[in-house]
């Protein structure tokens, strides 16, 4: 969208401004916005897109009514920049696994970042990088989080529609399995013995992976989010046990199932750590 003519127009009253910010990420979630096709036009009419560098060279200054944040915090500079984004935005939503959970790059949280730097770069002293990748919510207050790698277009539109209508956004938190069954899929875990994360993963994608005959790998994060506590979903421990005892995955394979795109979110993190211990024990 290179609609530079609009640069000097005032913000239409009742037409909130939107800004899209990028941190450590692959841009896939921003592309999901651009992939809205016809709905993108409607979005552009309903909202005043004031700052979206991925889409337009027109970049107006804040404050903004709605800010969408893609990506996680992996550098000292970004840890600082996110504070100013928060100050400029009335309502702020993270989009995608990176911003909401730290993303695949949070695998570094279990590694040695200094060693990575020395291995990859000839002059590692110029690389300014934190030893962790953390979700936006660990740095600032976040008003709403959209899960997914990438996010689901329909969920994004739904949340914005709710906001415009003055309704508090609310998305379902139940398992992928429910949507999988509504779609009439044959369960890959039961019928093929493939270790599927659907039972502990939050709905939202439309159960795309099982619909293609493959396993869910948890890209929408834990079902019911972070409601950690005894006896509350997601019951990762039981599913992990089934992967191991029923489907014969060895401990390191169970570990890897949970340490993926959302591996650093508490329920998945704790499960992978438990299997890391089992793995160590199995080598002793």
């Amino acid at each position: 969208m290179s609609d530079t003519n609009r640069a000097n127009q005032p913000v239409t009253p009742g037409r909130p401004t939107l800004a899209v910010f990028k941190f450590a990420s692959c841009d896939g979630c921003q592309l999901s916005i651009l992939n809205l096709e016809d709905d993108l036009l409607a979005l552009g009419q309903a909202l005043d897109i004031a700052y979206f560098p991925e889409a337009s060279s027109e970049m107006r200054k804040g404050p903004y009514d709605i800010a969408l944040v893609e990506g996680s915090i992996t550098t000292p500079e970004d840890a600082h920049r996110i504070l100013s984004v928060r100050k400029q935005a009335t309502w702020l939503m993270t989009i995608g696994a990176c911003a909401t959970a730290g993303g695949i790059q949070a695998l570094r949280n279990w590694g040695d970042v200094e060693a990575f730097k020395r291995t990859v770069y000839p002059s590692p002293q110029y690389i300014q990088s934190l030893s962790t990748s953390t979700p936006i919510s660990e740095h600032i207050h976040v008003d709403f989080e959209l899960w997914g790698c990438p996010i689901d277009k329909a969920q994004l539109l739904r949340v914005i529609t709710d906001l415009l209508g003055g309704v508090h956004p609310r998305l379902p938190t139940h398992s992928v399995c429910i949507e999988c069954k509504r779609r009439g899929n044959i369960c890959v875990m039961v019928a093929k013995g493939i270790p599927c994360l659907g039972p502990v993963t939050r709905t939202g994608c439309g159960a795309i992976c099982p619909s293609m005959g493959r396993d869910c790998y948890g890209c929408f994060g834990p079902a019911e989010g972070l409601h950690e506590g005894p006896g509350l979903p997601p019951n990762t421990a039981s599913l992990a046990k089934e992967f191991h005892q029923g489907l014969r995955l060895i401990p390191v394979e169970v570990l890897r199932r949970f340490r993926g795109i959302n591996g650093s979110v508490r329920p998945f993190r704790e499960e992978s750590q438990a299997w890391e211990q089992n793995d160590r024990a199995s080598h002793e």
Binding site: C177, R182, C187, V190, S238, L239, E242
Partner: protein, 380 residues
Amino acid sequence: MVTQSNNHIDAIPKVLLQQLLDVLSAKGYRTVGPVVRDGSVFWDTIRQVADLPLGWRDEQTPGRYRIEQTGSTRIFGVVHGPQSVKPLAFAPREPLLTIERSKGRVSVQPTMPKSEKVAVLGVRACDLAGLAIQDHIFLKDAYRDPYYRIRRDGLFLIAVNCTRALATCFCASMDTGPRASANFDLALTELDEEMLVEAGSEAGREVVRALTCAPASPAQTREAERQIKACAGSQTRQLDRSRLPSALYDAHEHPRWDDVAARCLACGNCTMVCPTCFCHSVEEAPDLTQTGSEQSRLWDSCFTQEHGYIHGKNIRPTIKDRYRMWLTHKLASWIDQFGTSGCVGCGRCITWCPVGIDLTEELPALLNSTTQVKKESIRS
């Protein structure tokens, strides 16, 4: 039920079964049957007998489903897939209304499903019992659901009496099978060479009249009876209902609930595959311009957080609360609510539970030494 039927029974050579599909098509029915797909069977449109799972056979155990080609001449060797006939009447996602707002006026348009004549071939006795329960919920008394009504009215049900039970089947102990005893248009029993045909409705009799068939011989009906009885006798699982519903209410504080909650994923698969579960939620999908909205009905489950959300509070936060809700509704409060059990013994929840939780194992464990547990908990 294994009781012998008094209806007139005909026999049609299996090689002529295509006639049945042709007669139904000529009468304007879309013919639907189990079709092999992704390692199981699913309801799909069929045009030829060859579309059916000829020679295939399924094996089901807790948390596991496998299908294999045996090379036999059995047309209905696959007992069932994940879905009963439920989705053909109670759609997983049913558009209900479109709402439009223009010039200050709001108009509401119901979006009724297209009425369609659908003949379903291969319905099991337990599925029919499940559908009778759905009929009760959606069509009886004051609240009659027009969406369900349209889909249900179009159905012509062709049952297949079971001559082989799965390891997970327990219809004999629920009095719902393996023989189809009511609510069907036609019921078939598959023998080696012939298909026995019994009509259960006027529409069914009309179809039979158009087929090349002869009255079944006494030897044929005896053989069919023998196989159905053997099927009932071979069932290893059962559910003892003699102390229900009260014994399950009394078991409300039984420690076994914690045990099963440690295994249960709250994934909801058991409710999604159950022929009797009827819970649904209504989803509102407004458009971005705030001028219109679409409302749909979606299958829901008592295993979701949203299902227990009432008056600003989740009344069933834990997995234990949810599994207890599910089992207690199925086996106990359903009886108070509808006068029947909410379980028809199809065994699907056992097979399609990713961790293989088996209600026929949980119930006896829960009814075991309940009184003792209660006394102990009072003392402590």
